[in-house]
Each structure stands twice: as C-alpha cells, then as structure tokens.
C-alpha cells in the first residue's frame, strides 16, 4: 500500500515537473514582454498556436522535425519585429491600447489559421514514440525530451540575460527606460528584439508541444490563460517567478489528482494561486512598485 502510494507520488512529481517546464517556456515570453515593455500580449497564445501550425505544416511537407523546431520560431520572431515596430510602438506607454491591439492581432492570426488550415484538429506524429517504465507506469519519452529542451532553453535564456551585454541592456531597460536611454542603451532596439524574443519563445513552445497537445486554431486560448496565471502569480516580469509557479501549479495538480477528481484538483490548485495573490498581490517574486 505504502509502496503503491510512493510510486504514484514519484510519478506525479515527475509528470508535474515535466509539464511545469514545458509551461514555463511558454510563459517566459509573456513575462519578458510585460516586464520590459508593459505590454499585456493577448496574442501570445495565438503566436504559440501559429508556431504549432507551422511545425505541423513543415513536418507534413518535409518530414523533418529539426526544421519544424527551427523555422517556425524564426518566422514568428520576424513577425514579432514587425509587430513591435509597426503596430505596438505607436502605443508605447499606453497599455490599454496595446491590449486592444494584441487582441486584434490574436483574432487576425486565429482567422488566418482557420482559413488556411481549416477548423479541424491536426495531429503531429510523435517523433519519439517510445516509452520508459518509470515508477510502475509507462512514461512517454517525448515528454522527457520536450522538458529537457525547455530546461536547456531556460538556461540559455538565463545566460543571455545575466551574462551578455544585451541581457544587461534588457535588465536596465526593465528597471528604468529613461535612465537606460540616457545611458546610451538603444531602448527602441532592445524593446523590438525582446518582443521578437518573446514571440520566438511562444512559437518554440508551440513547436515543442505540437506532438503532445493537438493543433487547432483555438489552442492558444488555453495556453494564454495558464500562462497568465503563471506570470501573475510568479510576479509580472520575473523569469524565476514564471519557472517556479509553473512547476508549482503543475506538480500540485498532479499530486492532488492521486486522490481527487480532475476538476477538484484543478479547483484546489487555482484556489491556492488566489490565496498567494491575496497574501502577496505582486506575486511570489514580484517587485513592489510605487
């Protein structure tokens, strides 16, 4: 009995950690864009959806998975450069306008996907169909691959932010745009590249998740809600917060599901998130603002 419980607990911890890492990759782009530019990017989920659709398209026509992880994020990143410069920059420092603009971008992306790919769900074949026997349960190897890739990308992102000059510019711009500009930092370029990086990450999340979650033109909404929960509870603009919260919410839901129904475990984990926000409105790692 105890052995069975421990086995289930170990499985839940592993599965929760794997999902947490995948979710954190998607949420990171969102928190980066908000932290730097104050833009609440409602189109984030739809950029993720577009990344997944492009991956599906590339796999269908080339059969090359590596290409499907590389090309969509680059294309969506380029789209991000354009969107920041032409659509969002005119509304700089007016967050309410950027919300409306990104809602519009999201709708446009959704309807382009609907017109091109249709309303049906598309499936990407699992590139690693094997499973491992872990804690008494067969565990899909691809999930371990996706989680490892997320971990690697998070590390690279951390290195960029904390070990490169560009990362220093990003952090300086996040702290105070005006002082950063007077110090000679090309703030506009930093914002443009960071927005593109956020878009790149969301599309990469879509490409990596494509063989696990299925692809439809509305798939972005589910992710957007989860990513917002993670970003808000973790603390707006905090990379560490996004990672910790996505791990927390995912592991908690998995562990609770040992004894609770799926709905109850989701309710419980969301109630905990609300409790955290009541206790600390700026989020777990959020900074107090004036």
């Amino acid at each position: 009995m105890v052995e069975m419980f421990l086995s289930k607990l170990a499985f839940s911890l592993l599965n929760g950690a794997v999902w947490g890492l995948i979710v954190s990759l998607i949420a990171l782009g969102l928190t980066l864009i908000f932290g730097l530019m104050g833009i609440i990017n409602i189109a984030h989920g739809d950029l993720y959806m577009f990344g997944a659709f492009l991956s599906w398209y590339i796999i269908n026509y080339t059969g090359n998975y590596w290409l499907s992880y590389l090309v969509p994020p680059l294309l969506i990143g380029l789209l991000g450069l354009f969107l920041e410069k032409e659509v969002l920059r005119p509304f700089e420092d007016r967050p309410e306008y950027t919300v409306i603009a990104t809602i519009a971008i999201g709708y446009i992306l959704q309807h382009i996907a609907l017109a091109i790919f249709g309303g049906s769900t598309q499936v990407v074949r699992n590139p690693v169909p094997a499973s491992l026997h872990l804690f008494g349960i067969e565990y899909p190897v691809y999930r371990l691959f996706a989680a490892s890739a997320s971990l690697l990308l998070l590390t690279v992102l951390w290195l960029i932010l904390y070990r490169t000059t560009f990362g220093l510019w990003i952090r300086a711009t996040m702290q105070d745009k005006e002082i950063a500009e007077t110090s000679g930092i090309p703030v506009n370029r930093v914002c443009m590249v960071t927005f593109a990086l956020g878009c790149f990450l969301s599309a990469l999340g879509g490409s990596l998740a494509a063989p696990i979650v299925q692809i439809s033109y509305l798939m972005g909404f589910d992710v957007l809600v989860l990513a917002f929960i993670v970003v808000v509870v973790g603390g707006l603009g905090s990379l560490k917060g996004a990672l910790v919260t996505s791990l927390l919410i995912s592991i908690l839901e998995n562990v609770l599901s040992i004894y609770l129904t799926p709905l109850e475990s989701r309710l419980f984990s969301l109630a905990l998130m609300v409790a955290i926000l009541v206790k600390k409105p700026t989020g777990i790692f959020g900074r107090q603002t004036e």
Binding site: N15, S120, V123, E138
Partner: protein, 420 residues
C-alpha cells in the same frame, strides 16, 4: 401618340392587369406570386469556434441540398433560398443569430445548430416565433424536456446512440468497463446512459472519470484505471480525444477502446495510427464509403463533394464530418417532403406541416442516404440504423450495422398533446 390613343392603351393595360389578378384570385392554380416567392431555409452553424469543423461540413451540405432541389424544380414548384448564420460555437451568439434568422432574414425553417447548448437555448424561440426548428445537437433533452412541438430532430441523440451500441459493447467487447468522459453535459449524458444500459446488459462499470475540457495531460487520471478493467468507454472530442487516446495507449496499450464517432469527426487518423489501432467507434454513417456503399450514399457524397474516404474532393486536407452532416441534407429533404404532402404555403400552415411530420417515415433514397428512419410522433425524435467501425491498419473499417429497433427507447414526452 395623341391623348385619345394614350388613354385607350392605359385602359386596355389596366383591364388586362385586372383580369390577370382576378384569375389568380380564383385559385385555379398557385398564383404566380406564390410560385415565385422563395421558401427560405436558414442554418445556424458553427463556422468559427470550437465546432468549426462541423460548421464547414454542415454549410457545404446545406448548399448542395438546396442546389439540387432548385435544379429539380424546387419545393412545390417554389425556389429555395438558403441563409447561413455563424454561432461562433457560443450559446449567447447562437441565440442572437436565431432571432436574426427569423426577424431579419424572415426564414421559414431553421436547421442547426450542432451545439446542444445553443439548440436548447433556441428551442423556446422556435415556439415563440412559430418557426420549425431542426436542431442537430445530440443532447437527449433537446427532444424531451427542452423540446416543444416546433422542434424536430432528424439525427440521433446520446441515449439512442448508447442504447444502439450497448449489446455489441457488452456481448462482443467486454464486461468490465471504465468510462472517461468530458466534464460537461454531453460527457455526463454519455457516462450516465452507458452505465445504465451496460449494467442492464450484465456488465460492470468499475470507475467513472470526468476530465475538464482542454485537458492536456491525461496520465494522472488514466493511471487510476484498475488493473482488472478490460475496456474503456470514452466520450470526448478533438484535441481532448487525441490527448486522451495517446496517453491511454502509453499506459494501457492492451485495453479495449470504444466510443462514439464524435471523438474523431474531422480528425485525420493517419498520424495517430498506432494509438487508435484496434479502437471501436459507434458511427451514424461510416466515414469511408465502402462501409456503407449504397447507390444513394455514393450520390450524396458526389453532390456534396466528399470523396470515398470522407475528404473534400479537390482538397484532401479537409475531412468532412460525414457521420453528422448527412442530417442537414435529410432535414432539408424532410421539409420538402412534408410541404409537398400537406400543401404548406406559409407559416400560417405550420400546424398542418407539424402534423405531417409527426410520425413521418422516410425511405432510404437520395433524399435520405443514411437509411430508413421515422420521426416518432410523441417526441419528434428520429430513429435510424447505426454502424460499428473498427480501426484496422489505421483505417476505419465498418464491421457491423445495427438495426433501428435496437436504438428505440420509450418516449418520455408527448408533444402531440401540446397546442400550436
């Protein structure tokens, strides 16, 4: 032209016009005005939103049916006009669009929506505006407590489906079951009906799992399936189904899988070949023509533009919801048959039309390619044959046809006692 000849001509034309009007009023044949007045059929469908894959097929099917009717003389000699409104798979929008169809487009009949919640919301409007409504949603209550005398369902419902398939499921598949359904009304209905009929048939449901819509990770929930379970009955759709079947295949590749066709409508099974292999699906019309290769089914596909594998002719990336969209076709032809039988001319004649439809039988034909069926007078619910498909080498293969009799259950309401 002088004044006198002008007056003569005016008097002559006036007299001719009056005589024409008089002959029309004498009613020797339908007036020219009526013959030219189109019958307007509206469809509420999901062109966008979560059920967009159904909307695409339903819209194309309705257009094909109306084209065919107009090419072959219309309904009672009158042309048919088709109007479509998009519900966005949203009950609030759907109900608003129902009003729009009635009040703005002045439609005579409404087909759809596929969404049960929208259909339930629209049923009272059908009665309020005295407009016949043919919803396509499958919640049982649409033709029970949520229906009324103006609502007819030409397709099947959850109870009918579960009952039709239960003998096969229990006698030929397994006795010890687990149910995994989406946590909303359609899933609950499937779970409840399956449990009820399975236990009546001598089987046991060991565990019932309800999962929230949009669940990405099924492993934590499916890991609870008891070792002794032999089979899983599922009711989920689109991405939920695909996530579910992938995780179930990883955990229990040996377990028997059985569920309604709604789970895979419009889904390309090729990339899922391993996971869905050996699964069973109860369908209302096979996706592959060879599963029910009749002259009329073949012609129906040809008219709509569906190939032998359920794909759009000319665009194989689009997979039709073949098991559902036939109901749009059949509803339009049922309207035609009832109008021609009772001599309906306008909404004023709806009581006669309703009485004509109550208990109406439909013989398998180009108008009814799914097969024979009848609309039960009491609850306005149609009963029909069902099919069982098995996935073999990644392809749906029809293994069984279930007769109409196996799907019939006692009527729970009697709308014939309700006024108009």
């Amino acid at each position: 032209m002088n004044r006198r000849s002008f007056l003569k001509q005016v008097i002559f034309l006036g007299a001719a016009g009056f005589l024409t009007y008089l002959s029309g009023c004498l009613g020797q044949k339908p007036s020219l005005e009526l013959q030219e007045k189109p019958i307007r059929i509206g469809q509420l469908t999901e062109l966008t939103g979560g059920l967009a894959v159904y909307g695409y097929s339903n819209d194309a099917t309705a257009k094909a049916a109306v084209n065919l009717i107009n090419e072959t003389g219309g309904i009672a000699g009158r042309p048919v006009q088709y109007v479509v409104e998009d519900t966005a798979t949203n009950p609030t929008v759907g109900i608003r669009k129902m009003r729009r169809l009635i009040e703005l487009h002045k439609v005579d009949f409404i087909i759809g929506s596929q969404h049960s919640g929208i259909a339930i919301g629209c049923n009272p409007l059908a009665k309020e505006f005295k407009t016949l409504h043919f919803p396509l949603g499958e919640a049982t209550s649409i033709t029970e407590k949520d229906g009324n005398r103006y609502v007819f369902r030409i397709n099947n419902n959850v109870r009918e489906q579960v009952k039709a398939g239960i003998k096969f499921a229990v006698e030929e598949l397994a006795k010890k079951w687990v149910t995994v359904v989406l946590d909303y009304s359609w899933g609950w209905s499937n779970e409840e009906e399956f449990k009820k009929y399975a236990e009546q048939a001598g089987a046991k449901v060991l565990l019932s799992i309800r999962t929230p819509i949009g669940t990405k990770d099924y492993l934590p929930y499916l890991s609870k399936i008891p070792e002794e379970a032999e089979a899983v009955f599922f009711a989920n759709w689109f991405s939920d189904f695909i996530n579910f079947i992938r995780d179930l295949h990883t955990l229990r590749p040996d377990i028997i899988k059985y569920g309604p066709v709604c789970c895979i409508e419009g889904v390309n099974l090729e990339p899922l070949a391993d996971q869905v292999e050996d699964a069973w699906f109860l369908t209302w019309l096979p996706r592959n023509l060879e599963g029910y290769d009749t002259e009329f089914h073949r012609m129906f596909r040809e008219k709509v533009g569906i190939d032998e594998e359920g794909r759009e002719i000319g665009d194989p990336s689009k997979i039709y919801t073949v098991s559902h969209c036939w109901a749009v076709w059949e509803a339009i032809f049922a309207i035609k048959e009832a109008i021609e039988q009772c001599g309906w001319e306008s909404k004023e004649d709806n009581p006669e039309l309703i009485q004509a439809l109550e208990g109406m039988e439909f013989k398998e034909s180009l108008s009814h390619p799914q097969g024979d069926k009848f609309l039960r007078a009491e609850d306005h619910q149609a009963f029909m044959q069902h099919f069982v498909d098995h996935v073999e080498n990644g392809k749906l293969v029809t293994k069984k046809i279930i007769s109409i009799d196996e799907s019939i259950y006692p009527a729970q309401v009697d709308y014939t006692k309700e006024g108009f």
